[in-house]
């Protein structure tokens, strides 16, 4: 066993101590945090110069849709 093996074993044991339900919270929580960040972006970052003339020109919509689908997937699978 080398020092690398000891480091690896310590990290492995620490990670195995985390229950899978906690891991799921980590995955879903990260996606939720990203969704909140997207929703809080200023309009200048998510619409064309001069603002959105149609509802589908706001990129928040597409980004939120993609993330919400991901949140559903990682909540149940």
């Amino acid at each position: 066993m080398s020092p690398l093996h000891h480091i690896g074993q310590t990290i492995r044991e620490a990670l195995m101590a985390i229950p899978l339900s906690g891991v799921r919270v980590l995955f879903v929580g990260s996606l939720v945090a990203l969704l909140i960040w997207v929703l809080r972006l200023p309009n200048s970052e998510t619409t064309p110069p001069g603002g959105a003339k149609r509802w589908d020109e706001n990129l928040k919509l597409g980004a939120s849709l993609a993330l919400i689908l991901q949140i559903i997937v990682y909540s149940f699978l």
Binding site: R12, V23, L31, V38, P49, G62, Q70
Partner: protein, 550 residues
Amino acid sequence: MLLAANSHLTSPDYIVILLYLAITIGIGIAIGRKVKTGSDFFLGGRRLPWWAIGMSLVATDIGGTDIIGVGGAAYSHGLAVANFEWIGCIPAMIVGAFIFIPFFYRTGVYTIPEYLERRYNAGVRTVMAICWLLFMACNLGIMLLASAKMMSEVFGWNQPVCILVTAVLVGAYTCVGGLAAVVYTDMIQCTVMIAGCLLVLVLGIIEVGGIDELKNRLAEVEARQAATAMEVADAESPPVAIDTDRPLERTSLILPADTKSPFPWPGIFFGLALILSPAYWIGNQAIVQRSLGAKSDFEAKASYIWGAVLKNIIPLIVAVPGLIALALLPDLESGDVAIPALVNRLLPVGIRGLFVAAFLAALMSSVDSYLNSAATIVSNDFYKRFIDKDVSDERLLTVGRVTTAALVVWAVIFAFILTLMSEKSGVYAIFQTLMAFFQGPAFAVLLFGFLWKRATGTAAFIALLCGIATSVSLYTLNQKVIYTLLGWEPLFRVEEPFLYFSIWAFLVTSTLIVIISFFTSPDSEEKLKYVYHRAKLPNEFDNAAKGSVV
């Protein structure tokens, strides 16, 4: 081959395939007639629309290797492979869309290595350009081989002929039409690919008897395999308690840290979602290049968001068929033959042509992108940077086309070399290991340069080399012949631990950048304009681009 029996294509199949090829190549060559300069060839004249780029992003990311490899990995290891298309893509695409991509667009660069020279120095640019070129050149061979295996196994076609014909067809329109031809043909290929794979998915679920029946059959397969493993273990060691709370690995996305599959959750979360995925979507030249060809920075952002929405359906059409194959054909010798065998069983004569077209679409959309991006790197990061700094745009177009043709020849040769080696390892594992060697260090260098003004060029250069050396060392030390020679246990407990290579290489690179930066002089104000918070004005970049050496 065993699978080729009873799998001959009929006239309608060939008509579908030829129609698809004729449309694709016709469009590619028609676009090529408008290509007059290097800018047209490498960035589509910066006139590409967001919806075409978004579909091109998805088509490029899903290659022939994915249709065989992801389905094969799902067959061998379960649904967790879908993480590569979901959490391994979508969050990074969204962060990239709003932060990185519009920034790169405004700098006016052609390549990511070019950005790295502006931010750091020529050394970092050259190392990254070499890494990307090697990766893309190798990957071209892998993609050609994967496609040839598929066509050989399912349709009984001659494998060397498949490699040659695919290379010539894709090479022709990529050579003539450049990025615009790549993006518009990718759009058609994305549609054909989704339609063909969807057909396999729907027919597969019907054949199994529905989604609930699929779950039941997968649970039976897993139970049978666990029982077999227990019998083997009983014969060799004392009984071990079975953890009944563990999820069924075949149908779970999140697997325990001690799973035997290559996809334990720490690797997926820390290695894939936080490192490899952003490295790919933000730092991969083949991916980023098409967004640099958008009409505006807003359209570049929109293309990534559109791609992220489309990405949600990809695992359903490329990974789930692997699970269906497991339910229907649980005793195949390897995952690599799962999708060919499934297609052979499901698709009736006369409809296989659509799946072949879908497969060719997936393959061609990736090969054309890597060809064009590798040619861009050779032309801009080597020829223009080191051979002829004052090269005209027209001359650069010729260089790009000649390089594309040379890469086609190389890809064919490499594919033939690979046929001698690929039996020992899954195609997907080879692809991922190649990426893991330098993607972690590359992302660390890009990220620190982008966000931290104190990161210096010297630090980035040394850290990048050390990071790559870390990946290669870990890979080497984890080879059975090496650790046996040293009298060690394997360093990693999972099969194919490429995700862990990227984590460690990223951490080593990041640590070294921070430490060495504090021991070296800060970079000039000219370099710091390329730090995210230091440069917000597009005009500043316009002037920088005009005054740049490259």
